[in-house]
């Protein structure tokens, strides 16, 4: 019986993750990882995972993800503040906004590859930023969008969200958990294999018959979709949309989080965002010149775990001959050998 459970765990880590997510807020407040921080870490973890769909899993470095995230945040925020929409619909609208923005950005930028693609996404991501500042009567401009009323979930049951950090946590965890399942599905599907083929060697993939442009575009759309969910969730969490959501520094932050945690892994983006947010939160309370320690610790961690926290751990664990371990939601061993540090 225990052996059966253990082997189930080895094959599918999802139930374990679900359990952890369920239990976490009850324990979290007693640790330095308090509920509000944990919730924010989940949102940024999703954002980093979405970003990594493009980079770690498809080989496209986007420096414009702030546009996808930010446009979604503002869409959700505007609907909540000005149109008094409900939470569920606003989040869905945010998700769609992320998708549409990705369609436009991808359509334009994917004409180029590599570092040129990256810089094009950076350039294009300035448009939403500029637009937000120019329409300050609607969006609040540099001060951000305020005026979001007290939030509550209406469906599937009534759940007050404002002033109830635990409820907010569960709402966010449920949505993020759902997205994680969907992403895992995608990564394990034949399309996921196609993405990885493009990432490994685009020319070779093309000669094998893959329509690489289409694959990249779809991957980018998916990335935008989930980044949109993350942006929408952050608006619900903050009840406010800071202009930073649509600023290029947000693109930089998500790149750092994904790489720091381990690009190409499934748990990496979540680990990266949690550690990063938590380090700053914890050290800023205790030390005056805390950025020295954050920067220093960050460097030390990277030098010790240069493929990202999860990426390097996976490599070590695999080197020791253990089962495909190191990520929380490991897939069953694929039949064809994929690249060692990048299977979900």
């Amino acid at each position: 019986m225990a052996a059966g459970a253990l082997s189930l765990l080895r094959r599918d880590r999802a139930p374990l993750v679900a359990l952890l997510l369920l239990v976490a807020p009850f324990v979290a407040d007693r640790t330095p990882l308090y509920t509000a921080l944990l919730t924010e870490a989940l949102v940024f973890g999703l954002f980093a995972l979405a970003f990594d769909i493009a980079l770690g899993h498809s080989g496209m470095l986007s420096l414009g993800h702030s546009a996808l995230f930010g446009v979604a945040s503002y869409t959700t925020g505007l609907l909540l503040a000005h149109r008094k929409w409900g939470v569920g619909e606003s989040v869905l609208a945010g998700m769609l906004a992320g998708l549409l923005t990705a369609a436009v950005m991808g359509g334009l930028a994917l004409r180029k590859r590599g570092v040129y693609f990256a810089m094009l996404t950076l350039a294009l991501s300035q448009i939403p930023f500029f637009a937000v500042r120019m329409t300050l009567d609607i969006t609040g401009g540099d001060d951000g969008l305020s005026g979001i009323p007290k939030l509550a979930l209406a469906f599937p049951f009534d759940l007050p969200l404002s002033k109830h950090p635990r409820n907010l946590y569960f709402f966010v965890a449920a949505v993020v958990g759902l997205c994680m399942l969907m992403v895992r599905r995608i990564l394990r599907s034949p399309f996921g294999r196609a993405m990885r083929a493009v990432r490994e060697n685009e020319e070779r993939a093309r000669t094998c018959g893959y329509d690489t442009q289409r694959i990249k575009l779809i991957a980018f759309l998916l990335s935008g979709l989930f980044a949109g969910v993350a942006g929408a969730l952050l608006t619900v969490l903050l009840e406010f949309v800071p202009i930073e959501n649509v600023h290029w520094s947000m693109s930089g932050t998500v790149v750092i989080m994904a790489m720091f945690g381990g690009s190409g892994t499934f748990a990496g983006p979540f680990v990266g965002s949690t550690v990063f947010l938590w380090m700053k939160d914890y050290l800023s309370k205790r030390i005056e010149f805390w950025e020295v320690f954050v920067g220093g610790t960050f460097i030390i961690i990277v030098l010790f775990l240069p493929e990202g926290i999860v990426g390097t751990l996976k490599r070590h664990l695999r080197a020791r001959g253990g089962p495909a371990a190191g990520t929380i939601a490991a897939s069953p061993r694929p039949r064809a050998p994929a690249s060692p540090t990048s299977e979900p």
Binding site: D29, Y34, T35, A36, L37, E40, R133, L136, G141, D142, D143, G144, S146, G147, K150, S162, K163, P165, L234, L238, E239, F240, P242, I243, E244, K280, D281, L283, S284, K285, R286, I287, E288, F289, W290, E291, F293, G296, T297, I300, L303, F304
Partner: protein
């Protein structure tokens, strides 16, 4: 290639951890606790980022105030305990940490901030959690119709007050052909609105403004344009390092000789960073300046304490955070209640005086009606010591502000009753 061995890693981790402990600067300042539950003063500001200099000075003002309050027995017998958080100059982190203060630490009020977005976040939380919010920097929220929470208390001049004060002074003494250069974000935009109103009132002409991208690191590309406009008075709307850069470049390009430069809001920290004599000949508005110690006994007491412990002179930010902290505590003690509604009602219309002339919290919008001071920069040779950057050459009184009705408030209705 060389990889870090485990031993090296553990050693460095030990060094980092040890250094952290030793060099630690405890942010949760657990002052002496009395018998009863401490009064938790939730203080949250951007202690890192471009305005760290000003917020650290702001903090020194708060600490002196808290000490004085506790010497007198605290707030209703409860010792005041500062619970401090750094917003990391990031509104999302600001909100998260404010929620931590409210939910985990269960603070009795929220105070601080420096940037507009942070102020808006705290303002919103104040009404969602029903808690007093003492905003230490210039308020922008009063200028955003309908957003001010009734539990919001302003401390500093509003942007309109700063602009009105300096505009009025300039119209009388410096000239009526105005130009404005500002960084392109909300606070300087509000300053401009204040100037526009002053221009109408005084009959001055205000040319279309010159906007620099925010954060501005270089104004040199805007200077020829400003010079081509040939204004009599150039108003400057920026703060921190951008202001220092502008001052240096104004000197370099000879702007000072061509027009009267009026910086709308300055602090000693900027003159210090620019260097001796850079602000020579500039006019500037400020909420408080340290030489006022010779005019007001309260200022002298504050100055002496501040200087004794830091070897620095206090900035206006420190004086303002000190004043508001003392104000709230003293008011609560006087009415013998810290009940939110009663305390707020008691603050409305309250007149007080700590480190300068008489001040008052205006009932309709809770902004602090107070003097603004006009400074003029001194040449390097005239400086008597390393802090003697400015002369106080004038002051503009409380009448130079926005009437309530112009901002959409009802003069007759105190904010707490809305």
């Amino acid at each position: 290639m060389g990889r870090i061995s485990r031993r090296t890693f553990l050693k460095s981790a030990g060094v980092v951890g040890g250094a952290a402990a030793v060099a630690g600067f405890p942010y949760v300042n657990r002052l002496a606790l009395g018998q009863s539950k401490p009064f938790k003063w939730g203080y949250i500001s951007p202690f890192t980022g471009p305005y760290a200099t000003e917020t650290h000075d702001q903090r020194r003002g708060v600490e002196i105030a808290v000490e004085e309050i506790n010497e007198k027995g605290g707030i209703l017998g409860r010792k005041v305990e500062l619970v401090v958080r750094d917003t990391e100059f990031n509104p999302a982190a600001a909100r998260r940490k404010a929620v931590e203060l409210l939910e985990q630490e269960k603070v009795d009020l929220i105070a601080g901030t420096l940037s507009g977005p942070e102020e808006l976040v705290m303002n919103e939380l104040a009404c969602k959690y029903n808690i007093l919010f003492a905003n230490y920097p210039q308020n922008v929220v009063s200028h955003k119709k309908g957003l001010v929470c009734k539990w919001f208390i302003g401390s500093h001049l509003t942007p309109f007050q700063s602009a009105a004060a300096m505009g009025r002074y300039a119209a009388q003494h410096l000239g009526k052909k105005w130009h404005y250069i500002g960084d392109n974000y909300s606070w300087p935009q509000l300053l401009l609105r204040g100037l526009e109103k002053m221009a109408k009132e005084t009959g001055a002409t205000l040319a279309p403004p010159t906007w620099a991208p925010f954060p501005a690191t270089d104004y040199s590309q805007f200077i020829p344009k400003v010079q081509a406009a040939k204004p009599e008075v150039l108003f400057v709307g920026n703060f921190g390092s951008p202001q220092v850069t502008f001052a240096k470049q104004a000197v370099e390009f000879g702007l000072k000789q061509q027009m009267k430069i009026v910086v709308l809001n300055t602090e000693i920290t900027m003159a210090e960073a620019a260097g001796r004599g850079v602000f020579d000949g500039f006019h500037a508005g400020t909420v408080w300046y340290w030489t006022l110690k010779d005019k007001y006994p309260g200022a002298k007491a504050f100055f002496d304490k501040f200087h004794a412990r830091t070897q620095r002179v206090p900035s206006g930010y420190a004086s303002v955070s000190y004043t508001t902290t003392r104000l709230i505590a003293d008011t609560a003690n006087e009415i013998k209640s810290a009940d939110l509604a009663k305390l707020t009602a008691a603050l409305e219309g309250r007149k007080f005086q700590y480190v300068k002339g008489p001040e008052q919290i205006r009932a309709c919008d809770h902004s602090n009606i107070q003097q603004a001071f006009v400074l003029r920069g001194k040449p390097a040779e005239a400086m008597k010591d390393k802090w003697d950057f400015f002369d106080v050459i004038g002051e503009v009184g409380a009448e130079a502000i926005e009437p309530c009705k112009d901002e959409g408030f009802d003069e007759a209705v105190p904010l707490s009753k809305t």
